[in-house]
Amino acid sequence: MLKLKNREALNNFRNNILSKHQEKDKKLISLCAGSGCGAYGTEKVYQTLTEELAKHNLQDEVEIKLTGCHGFCEKGPIMVIHPEGIFYPQVKETHIPNIVEKTIKNGEIDKSLAFKDHITKKKIFHEEDIPFYKLQQRIIFGNNGMIDPTSIKDYISVDGYTALDKVLFEMTPDEIIDEIRKSGLRGRGGGGFPTAVKWDSCRKHEGERYVICNADEGDPGAYMDRSLLEGNPHSILEGMLIAARAIGSNQGYIYVRHEYPLAVKNIETAINQAREIGLLGKNILHSDFDFDIHISRGGGAFVCGESTALMASLEGNPGRPRAKYVHTVEKGFRQSPSLLNNVETWTNVPVIINKGADWYSRIGTEKSKGTKIFSLVGKVVNTGLVEVPMGTSLRTIIFDIGGGIPKKKEFKAVQTGGPSGGCIPKEFLDLGVDFDELAKVGSIMGSGGMIVMDQDTCMVDVARYFLDFLKEESCGQCNPCREGIKQMLAILTDICKGNGKEGDIELLEEIGGMLQKFSLCGLGTSAPNPVLSTIRYFREEYEAHIRDKKCPAGVCKPLFHYEIDPKACKGCQACAKKCPEKAITGEKKKTHILDRQKCIKCGICYDICKFNAIIIR
């Protein structure tokens, strides 16, 4: 590839790509090759599709694009046929001949393969009409389905690097920071700190300044950063370049998890391509601006997502946070002024520069601007990545976009913000999700994890589960986090086993309160959130465990048993057939009997009974 020597060369390069696209007016098959769809078998689908197109001699007329994550991971592998936007979910190799014959050759839709809406039971044929996508506003994530992440040409063709062009030749550093300030952008890593304030204070400190991307996404169940790294890596580089120009930095780092192999590969490819074409390196586009980016792979410690621990790890030291009485914008990586932002924050930057702060700040709420990507997982019909304007209600996200709770069960709570987020009960379903509203109900935005829980979830067990995770991830440096998490976990484990005592709730609140306010770093201060929020909203469930020795949700095995409701039992034998311990007996059409001595409380009968005749006592 030729090195782009100046801004005219970049423009010509883009126009060239675009004119080729228009010339041919090709059909384009976009096939998701993100980690989720990949696991469902994109590779095989791709191979079969290539062969099938060749068989029909269509290989020159139809372009196949292996893209990053489209977001609707529940239905992978996902195929979208452009320009019509025909949507095929859960595509298998065996579907390919039909798709090629009907849709590609004859322009018809194969209705048997089309998406069926969970609620209306109607078939929907076009991507834009599917409720999961329809209610989203995908300003950050939208290009994921359109571009091949390993091609810089694709990124440039969707106006990639126009924002860089603009800041290099039309804006001063002050104007860049001002634009970010006016946009109201806040850090997407969890804290929600105003991005422009961070940039501005880093710029004011003297020394070799560093721009760092926090791609150490460690929350179980959250993968929006991964999907951006995998699906649109150049947008992250462009964001970092813009910040580097604004604060006067020549070196950048991306700290990314080693467990994200595709993300590492794609971001590496992107950096190499940008260097080759002259968008990273010395004298970028002849603007006298030098900037290069290096990758550092993290070993997977949750605490390394904390800024000071990340920088320690980047230096080659153990990933331990330090007390932040001196901020990293003053003394961070190598004791130098360091600007750290999260992946999603970086990808917002080119959008703001391109479309303007006025446009951007019209999206969202008064104090939280723009959109946020959530990873919607757990007991919800449509799991996947969802990008909505800040302020969108939990109800819209979970019920309209997410399709509600499967198996006609009741919604119980949603945990936002990863393992150290709080659990929000149903009375707050109409809460508009932004940084401040979540904080008010005792949770956090975090990086945008959203775990939906149904009626069969025990909130004490949930708190225990997350603390067990955090116990392993505490770095062990500060006393409240190291010993406090362990103590809280011991109390919760006792409660779940039926050994809870009066005063346990108060002790949890005491230790939790101490951790929340006075631990050394963000891991410790947010660690008690799952405990404190479940006590706040589900105190009666704790009391049932401690006083009545009952687990109302039927999760903590020592604290419940199953019974058969004789009024509801139809004698269908479905449960008796599936019971691994043969604990259920009974003749056809007669009420069955459950032998509590034999029952191991595996819950198979409870799940299988269509008549709700298995009850938790």
Partner: protein
């Protein structure tokens, strides 16, 4: 000079002095374990030296603050004491209380803090469980007792300062964190026999010279 008020006492302190240091030098005791005057980067990990400062919304660690003119500090508010008691009890939940057989007896920082906070040494209501490893005999000159250690890190700092490089480090994560010796075990190549700085600085006799056992 900065004029500050600590617990209704008027003090004149050189501007920029560490607040915890200033208090200690003026006989105002604030419980602490990991603070060292000469260490530039404060560990702030024992979470004991809390104070309340007028104008700040919640208690703060005094070791991470410098004195500023006009500061009004309280070291003994109920909020501060409550925090210190919880933090101290958490520390004691992994400490083997066997003072009679401990070389630190009567000069132990933990005994001093317990007396000051009017607390017993055995934590009430908390799960008391000790680390897996009881004693580390690995080092030719030193013995390490994880059941006594409060992980203040002072030993690592003085070792590095005295010898140009540390022979000690934090090892492990989370609950398994402990102090570990690393590098050459050849007694002739170790400065430890003459140094013993770590044993002198340890507030709880978690590292002692083999000759003392």
């Amino acid at each position: 000079m900065s004029k500050i008020i600590v617990d209704e006492q008027y003090l004149e302190i050189i501007e920029g002095t560490n607040l915890l240091q200033a208090c200690l030098e003026n006989n105002i005791y604030i419980p602490n374990l990991c603070y060292l005057k000469e260490r530039k980067e404060k560990n702030a990990s024992c979470r004991l030296c809390f104070v309340e400062i007028e104008g700040m919304p919640k208690p703060v660690t005094s070791c991470t603050l410098d004195v500023e003119d006009g500061m009004v500090v309280r070291t003994d508010t109920p909020a501060v004491r409550r925090l210190q008691r919880t933090a101290f009890q958490l520390l004691m939940s992994v400490h083997e209380v066997d003072c009679a057989h401990c070389p630190a007896n009567k000069k132990c920082e933990l005994q001093k803090i317990a007396r000051f906070l009017k607390l017993g040494l055995k934590p009430k209501g908390l799960d008391h469980s000790l680390r897996e490893l009881e004693t580390d005999h690995d080092h030719p000159f030193l013995e390490y007792f994880p059941h006594r250690c409060v992980l203040c890190g002072k030993c690592i700092y003085v070792c590095k300062k005295r010898n140009g490089r540390p022979y000690l480090t934090f090892a492990g994560r989370g609950l398994d964190t402990q102090i570990s010796f690393f590098g050459d075990k050849d007694p002739l190549k170790l400065p430890c026999a003459e140094c013993l700085a770590c044993t002198l600085i340890c507030p709880v006799a978690a590292i002692i010279a083999k000759t003392d056992t």
